[in-house]
């Protein structure tokens, strides 16, 4: 069973076709990698899936439902969470609050309950606090919980962003270049982290990454995008040997 299917999706901005006729499927617990040279349209694919852009043609099927055209917050509610290429934490909020926001979509209490604060309100707030602390514990960030997100070191910010996405309880996690700007040690840690997330939460992950060591090291399957077109798909070994991929990255052989 595939959790996500893109069926002949096109994304056009005026005369520019950023993604053309892309069909790709992600299995329910698959770790799929997406690679491609700069400007290939990888982030555009993410934006199409998460509703930031609406595909010009084609459809995005998630969990058997057509979600193209839905708003980003609705898509997040269905169970797709993402991180961003350049970290987008809530900088002035603490690490704790960043995670707290992710639990917002399942809140039972709303505007008036939050003002009146009757008994049920405090029960739910306590539940949320416990949940946030539990997540912080898993990721070993409990001690940083009260620090503003912006004050954390870069690698930790990336981790908090992944953690925040996971806190929404997704069935599919989209990671946009999580290793960007990390040093080799951090990259190794990140690979271990992604693997452990997949095992612990048993979810599907779609990963954009430039670092071939990371992609080849953890992805079960990889597809390659070049100028908005899928040029190859397969295991790490197949991709490595594929002449089209080599051409896209290194240029035509003379």
């Amino acid at each position: 069973m595939n959790i996500l299917e893109l069926n002949t999706c096109c994304m056009k901005f005026g005369g520019l076709t950023a993604v053309s006729d892309l069909s790709v499927a992600v299995g329910a617990t698959e770790l799929l990698g997406m690679i491609g040279p700069n400007g290939a349209g990888k982030t555009t694919v993410f934006n199409m899936i998460t509703g930031v852009y609406q595909p010009t043609t084609g459809e995005v099927m998630f969990n058997g439902e057509n979600i193209s055209g839905r708003k980003p917050y609705q898509i997040a509610a269905c169970g797709i969470a993402r991180t961003f290429q350049n970290i987008r934490l809530f900088p002035s909020l603490t690490v704790f609050e960043n995670i707290q926001v992710s639990l917002n979509k399942n809140l039972k209490h709303g505007f008036s309950d939050s003002i009146l604060q009757l008994k049920n309100f405090h029960d739910e707030e306590r539940e949320i606090r416990d949940k946030v602390m539990e997540i912080l514990e898993i990721f070993d960030l409990k001690e940083e919980s009260n620090l503003p997100a912006a004050s954390l070191p870069y690698g930790d910010q990336r981790r908090v962003e992944i953690m925040r996405a996971l806190a929404t309880g997704p069935k599919l996690l989209l990671l946009d270049e999580p290793a960007a700007g990390m040093n080799p040690t951090e990259k190794v840690e990140l690979m271990a982290l992604i693997k452990s997330i997949k095992e612990r939460f048993n979810i599907a992950i779609l990963l954009i990454e430039h670092d071939m060591k990371v992609v080849m090291g953890i992805c079960e399957r990889i597809f390659v995008l070049d100028y908005g077109v899928k040029i190859a798909e397969g295991s790490a070994d197949e991709i490595r040997k594929n002449p089209k991929v080599i051409e896209a990255y290194l240029g035509e052989t003379a």
Binding site: P72, Y73, F90, L93, E97, H109, F111, S114, A165
Partner: protein, 322 residues
């Protein structure tokens, strides 16, 4: 932590404002007037802080909502023909205030839904225009007195009503902001795209902030109208909106305490400077410039830390070397 802490504080504040209202005749009318303006400005600044400071939606139309509340409430008390001495005013006045608030909140909703798709400067200009539209519309309503103004509003505002609302608005904003639900406002302010990706219905949050802020601005308008007993459209021009925005910025966007203090200081300051007559506004403006240069984030804005300040007075810690 005590779950009922904020409620107890609200109760205490309400009792204090009731007690204070018995003492209001014992101070000079001039000081009393300043105290009332302080209260009204705290309501205006705190409610705008929810929109500008917490939800991060820069609105310049707060005086428009205030005007709607002022006229809305005044229409009710005029229709009911209540005077300051009538015992029925205890029922009619809060109803009139609430009515003014609802009128303003409805306007907030009508304006909010289309204009909150805009961001930053565009939103600021749209709300500015909207505030002016309200003023001009009122000016052309003969029924509301037009440009001549609305006269003979009963003097129903007293210390209790003003400071009861001050307590309520602070209570409402604080409870909202410290709840899980309210964190959505802060997330929206910090990064709208990320907030959406985390499942926050950002448009709804913007509208809620706008409507709530407008509601309290309307009530502040009603309190003001029933204190000065005469209102005219020019009192609610965009200068008034700017005045409220200045309080929020000087206090520190998104700092409840800072905004309250700024409302107090910026209400007293022009009065305290009356002694130097014509230089009054020059000094006032200069002070604003100095504050903005030295603390662009506002007096109590980001980076303000009580511990840090108290640390200045304590002995420096000796760090072991070697």
């Amino acid at each position: 932590m005590n779950q009922h802490r904020t409620k107890i504080m609200l109760g205490v504040a309400l009792i204090l404002s009731l007690l204070g209202s018995f003492g209001q005749t014992s101070i000079s009318p001039y000081y009393f007037q300043i105290i009332m303006y302080i209260g009204i400005n705290i309501i205006l600044a705190s409610s705008l802080n929810l929109i500008n400071g917490y939800a991060g939606q820069f609105s310049l139309g707060h005086a428009g909502f205030m005007a709607l509340g002022a006229y809305g409430a005044a229409v009710i008390t005029r229709a009911m023909e209540v005077g300051p001495g009538d015992s029925i005013s205890i029922v009619v006045f809060p109803f009139a205030l609430a009515f003014g608030g609802v009128v303003a909140a409805t306007a907030g909703l009508l304006v909010g839904i289309p204009s909150l798709r805009l961001r930053g400067d565009y939103l600021a200009i749209t709300t500015l225009g909207f505030g002016e539209i309200i003023r001009v519309v009122i000016q052309n309503f003969e029924f509301l007195g037009g440009a001549r103004g609305f006269t003979g509003i009963p003097k129903l505002s007293n210390f209790f009503w003003v400071f009861a609302v001050v307590a309520i608005v602070i209570f409402v904003v604080a409870n909202l902001i410290h709840s899980s639900y309210g964190k959505g406002f802060l997330a929206l302010r910090d990064d709208e795209i990320a907030a959406q990706a985390m499942g926050i219905h950002t448009t709804k949050y913007k509208v809620v902030a706008f409507v709530t802020g407008a509601f309290f601005a309307g009530i502040a308008g009603g309190l003001y109208a029933h204190f000065v007993s005469y209102i005219n459209p020019s009192q609610f021009s965009f200068i008034k909106s700017i005045e409220i925005v200045v309080m929020v910025i000087v206090g520190g966007m998104g700092s409840a305490v800072g905004v309250v203090l700024a409302a107090i200081v910026l209400t007293i300051l022009p009065e305290a400077l009356r002694g130097i007559a014509e230089y009054r506004m020059v000094i006032y403006s200069l002070l604003l410039v100095v504050i903005m240069i030295s603390r662009p984030q506002g007096l109590f804005g980001k980076g303000f830390n009580l511990k840090k300040i108290s640390g200045v007075f304590s002995k420096p810690k000796v760090t072991p070397t070697g």
